[in-house]
Amino acid sequence: MAEAFGLILRWDRELSVIVMLSLQVTLSAVALACLIGLPLGALVGAFRFPGRGVITVLLNALMGLPPVVVGLFVYLMLSAAGPLGVLGLLYTPTAMIIAQTILVTPIIAALTKQVVEDLHGEYAEQFASFGVTARTRVAALLWDARYSLLTVALAGFGRAVAEVGAVLIVGGNINHVTRVMTTTIALETSKGNLQLALALGVLLLGLAVVVNAGVMALRVSAVRAAYA
């Protein structure tokens, strides 16, 4: 354990490469998932249309997507024989971002739908009275629910940063190229190199705590300002 903390304190170069790649992949995937999931969830939450129930069930079901299945699906798409093989993305961070985006988007969309639906319940008559357009309605709901949606993004971040199966399949865990915290922990544990595995485990936990604390602080300030 002491050696693990020593690695962290020395901020070993290999450790820093792994941590930075993890953050790059995870944050990119969460950002992309938010770009897709927030408006999608808001549309489903704010409007009634045929097929809405089916989409809701689908989004909720996809929240529990098994990462290895997503990894396999993306692998088949990006492999040389797959339809997107020509892009040469397999075993690159981009492939990992794609896999994590697919995993996280349903979580963001389903949770956003719930948040927006609740807020829309409050606003619906007033919006109808104002005669707001669909676009203004979605924009206003997303803006007014922004602090609640931070928690939604946080849930997506938690899912992505802790994920190992999908990124292992499509990334290949190549040293200095696609090796991230979770895949390194799995590899080093299997090799018996517990110091690095432990150090990364501590860092992963620390990262989760710091991000959660940051979002919590933001929410508390929002509640104080009575916006939440």
Partner: protein, 250 residues
Amino acid sequence: MRDTVMESAQDCIASILTARSLGFAAGGQVLLQGIDVDIAKGKRTLIMGANGAGKSLFLRLLHGLLPPSFGTVRWHGERPAKRAQAMVFQRPVMLRRSVIANLRFALRVQGLGWRAREAGAREALEMAHLTEKARQPARLLSGGEQQRLAVARALVCDPEILFLDEPTSSLDPASTQMIEDLVNAAHARGVTVVMVTHDQGQARRMGDSVIFLHAGRLAEEGPRDQVLDAPRSEAARAWMAGRLYTRNDF
């Protein structure tokens, strides 16, 4: 005959909103039926009646928030326009924004540019005596201040008709006075007012005419003094006399 035609034509011109055989049903129950009324342009029409009489439902139908199950609502003879009317609800709906941002939102929906929005919002703040609280979250205002903001927000939409659903039902006399002042000022500028109220005192202070509903039907309508002081319907007589009654009594 000619006089009758002339009178009818004048009635049409004087009415901004007409409801004909208006009704609403939900869950297999008819909640409102057979309402025929003309809302006079530039006047203050008050809607009264007991709980469950259908006042708020009637107001929503007039405003266009609900589609009627039967009959029609016509605006100058046409379907109600989207933006020439505004409504204030019994419980004000405050957006999760500052006071001034609530006003800006209403102005943005009208399609106004940034400068016009700022000017309109400032003017509305002054009108509602909320300038000091412009930057405060709207949801932190007191009940009376929230309702003032709701009225000001409705008025920045520059409505021809202002609908109000018991806007002062949970307010103290001072707050009620401020809301009535805002509404009367709008009326003085030519805005037609249609307001639901339970309060006979308010009806005497503010009403030009009164529509009295009972059990989802029009019990009677007419000039304020006639309906309040010499009601013809049994339900309105009981109400004005302060007698207790249920929807099945008449």
